[in-house]
Amino acid sequence: MHKKVIQKYAVNLAGVVAVFLLILLLMGMGVVNNYMTGILIFTGINIIMAASLNLATGYLGQLVLGHAGFMAIGAYAAALFALNTEMPDLPTLVGGMAIGGAVAGLFGILIGIPALRLRGDYLGIVTLGFGEIIRIALLNLPFTGGAAGLRRIPKLVNFNILYVAVVLTITFLFLFVRSRHGRAIHSIKEDEIAAESVGIPTTFYKVYGFAVSAFLAGVGGSLFAFYQSILDPRKFTFMLSVEFFIIVVLGGMGSITGTILAALLLSFANEFLYSVENFRLVIYALLLITMMIFKPDGLLGTREFSLNGLLDRVKTLVGKSFPKSKR
């Protein structure tokens, strides 16, 4: 690999490790208490969910309103796997995540093949209907525990594991959207007809992107199951899908770092607005409307925050203010 590329990866890795160590340090000092750690973990799950939704909405350009359905599938699949096997913790966790992701991805393919033939808003409705069907199924199927849900799922996820999972997911997404496949997916959003005319098999890539998005949502769901240790089917409503969607829109459709930023912001806002819980959703709704009217691109638009770019900018600034003497 080129030396510069390695250097850039090193910078990003250093940044990720630094943030991790900082949070651990704050936890050790007691600044971040258990309650806040819990919030951080939920924020992490939200980041995975919203980032995976961003792949379908921001990069593939499809309106998906049933993301909570995929999350529910992943969560239930992982939980049922863990409840019906006797294995040490780590294989259970990894196996559960893999199975949760795989089952959700499979459903993504199943629903994607027929649904992705449709134009944007129809797809949104189909995914919405799909999410509702999943919810009703979870309430009525014999093996999902009905309205009582599933209980006593092993609690395998802590902050460290979740942080690693978020970093891996985000890294994967970054590499994926920049790969050949990712660029093909992006081209469909830009102009489907043009993409088709240069020989991109649009249906294949739509289903592909949609399935990857569903897979990651399933992984997010499995993490949720292993952290909560209780699953309630009433959690996975249309409103939950909308909440993920709001994160994506706020961060910017087509910006993964934007999604992270928005998820963090909304988590803080949630805590801040906790005392006025009833107003929270009204404020979100107004936020969504004003955002669409005045700044439809979201916080970051399609740009990405880049640590390397920041460093370069700092370097040029420093270079300007302290011009080096001749060597």
């Binding site: 350009g61 309106l63 629903i111 027929p114 649904a115 033939r117 449709l118 944007g120 808003d121 129809y122 949104g124 409705i125 189909v126 919405l128 209907g129 799909f130 509702e132 069907i133 009703i136 199924a137 309430l139 009525n140 007809i193 249309f238 909308v242 969607f245 829109v249 009833n278 107003f279 959703l281 009204v282 979100y284 709704a285 107004l286 936020l287 969504l288 409307i289 669409m292 009217i293 439809p296």
Partner: protein, 292 residues
Amino acid sequence: MTQFIQQMINGLHVGSIYALIALGYTMVYGIVKLINFAHGDILMVGAYVGFFALTAFNLPFGLALLAAMVLSALLGMAIDKVAYKPLRNAPRISALITALGVSMFLQNTFRLLFGANPRKMPAVFNVQPILLGDLRIPPLTIITILLSGACMVGLELIIRFTKTGKAMRGVSEDSKAAKLMGINVDRTISITFAIGSALGAVGGILYSISYYQVEPYMGMMPGLKAFVAAVLGGIGVIPGAMLGGFVIGGVESFTKGYLSTTWADAIVFSILILVLVFKPSGILGKNTKEKV
């Protein structure tokens, strides 16, 4: 056989409500190509207006209905002016997200104002059901079907014979050409929202009387099912919405009667998916080719 006819009557009852609501979806979609997610919540607002008119103001049913229609129509026009009009030329996904936002806003504002607990809608037509042999036909069912039928005929007359109706047809066919012909497009869209919302309010009141309650999230399910009905009939096609409404109502009541009550909603949504897979243009819709 009796049960079959009974379910058929129930199906007609809910079906005519779905048809009324579906008309609002289809009219708005036909004219601005927007799935108005807030339509379900407009029917909720209509039901609340009806509820307060009947309980707090003790108005007779007719006046309550009229008040709900007028206020909902104004609300529909206001939503269009404030939220959708600035986005007329924006990408469709933006307008759709805005519609979601409006829907959330209405639901949660009403929850804030009137609480999340359902309120009991007064039984308006609480008279003895008509007995035909073993059949029980509640008067509410007859009134619902007649009222819905009247609304649909009225709508059809407006669209076919008035100047406004002609303008609406023109704008939905080609809004640019309509503008060149001197039609006030914005005003026509506004009127479409008003009529659709007023019909939605009628649907909302009938729905809340049928299920005896009003609550802030009540619009969601009938809204979604009515949307399914609109898609099933062919979105943008007015007779399609009526047909779709009755089909969905029938399917729902037969599923509840013969298969299972819990799975009824899942089956309605499965129908939606199947329709979109096999005939995305709906029963009465026509296929349109996309142009480059």
